[in-house]
Symmetry: C2
Subunit: 227 residues, 2 copies
Amino acid sequence: MLHEEVVSRLRDILLEGEVPPGARIPERELCLKLKISRTPLREALKVLAAEGLVLLLPHRGSRAARLTDKDVHDLFEVCQGLEALAGELACERVTDAQLQEIAEAHAAMVEHYRDGDLTQYYRRNRQIHEAIVAAACNPVLSGLYDSVTARIRRARYLTPMTPPRWATAIREHEAILNALERRDGMGLAHILRAHLRHKREEIIKAGFAEIDSGRGLAGHESAAAPV
Amino acid sequence: MLHEEVVSRLRDILLEGEVPPGARIPERELCLKLKISRTPLREALKVLAAEGLVLLLPHRGSRAARLTDKDVHDLFEVCQGLEALAGELACERVTDAQLQEIAEAHAAMVEHYRDGDLTQYYRRNRQIHEAIVAAACNPVLSGLYDSVTARIRRARYLTPMTPPRWATAIREHEAILNALERRDGMGLAHILRAHLRHKREEIIKAGFAEIDSGRGLAGHESAAAPV
DNA sequence: AATACAATTTTTGAATTCAAAATCGTGGAA
DNA sequence: TTCCACGATTTTGAATTCAAAAATTGTATT
């Protein structure tokens, strides 16, 4: 198995919550599961620690990172900044083909909204935001965006969506598409900032806190379901 | 030696250009130099590869990352976005003490400008930008900023500074401090974007290209001085 | 019965070892 | 002379091994 693949599979295991946030990472088991020895596994752990997904306690093993309210808040703030930047750049660089792809994804998303299909809605939503970042044509930005969204994924796509919030999101997305089609960089950046700020407020209000109630690692081993 | 220390020292070695960009990383030598075995060194290499400082060629060793013009451009673009975001947030959160520290650094920087002391000027310049990011009070943002600035450091602080550009930079910094003191988030974000865009244009124009002339890795081993 | 201490076990971190892959060097053929 | 092929050497990637640190267990003493 290639190095990148180990990192990738381990990342998935953490993001899926197979190892719950805050729980100790069972080196032994993962070695067996991935059919590798400890050396490559530990290399992957260090990489993921640098990404912020894993917490390394010297001489005390590693744990799946636990997101505090503050972490979620910070991640959203940065995500918002990156998306706003991406929007600005995308307006300068987006190709007609990309624009069309985004428009189609948008239409599909609105359709899912009408059907009340939240899962498919989220899928399209994510596709749109990723397409905007891709259209910015900046691999550094894409990389940071991927890393931030990976860390925040659970919070972003697993919080309850209220009807009014959903309606607002759709309206905002109309404005996003519109600004992009007009190549209005400043306008788009502004909308994206507001868009994400709304989402953030919602998530914070929804009490994402339950994932982490603030006590230290010494607490329960959190064998319970992650989210 | 602690894991983080190995990563840190190796990062310095790369940033200092002790291993020139594009050059192969001599595992053996570094093991001797750092007095560690290959296992922890390779762990550090993977971490730095994830950071973008090292290029891993499967079965073909690792090399110090080589920045293309496009890379520098992309890094600056993202750096600009992060600083703008930091500026906005800093306006909401900066403490009086931090503000004072920034003002003092600014005064010192202007002094170095008058003296024509570029090295000290850069030092203060960097201190100011870092202080603004710190004032944003967002560890995620700080982390990304550190990583981006680390990658771009050589390009940022080793390009020739022309007198008119220097004068412009000083004027822009006056505006930055002013906006920060007025807690004018939007204004500061705008200024910071412009500030960095100017620097970027300067660097691109200055022909940072010489560091990488576009050919592949197969080319010369680049034993020459890094910058 | 509870707590403190010590011995044992487990786990972590790193060096060594080992197999596979790539590079280098030599020799032969065109 | 130049190009290609084949074998030796080096280097890489990963498993194993080893030492040190921490957790656990058991025991003794208060």
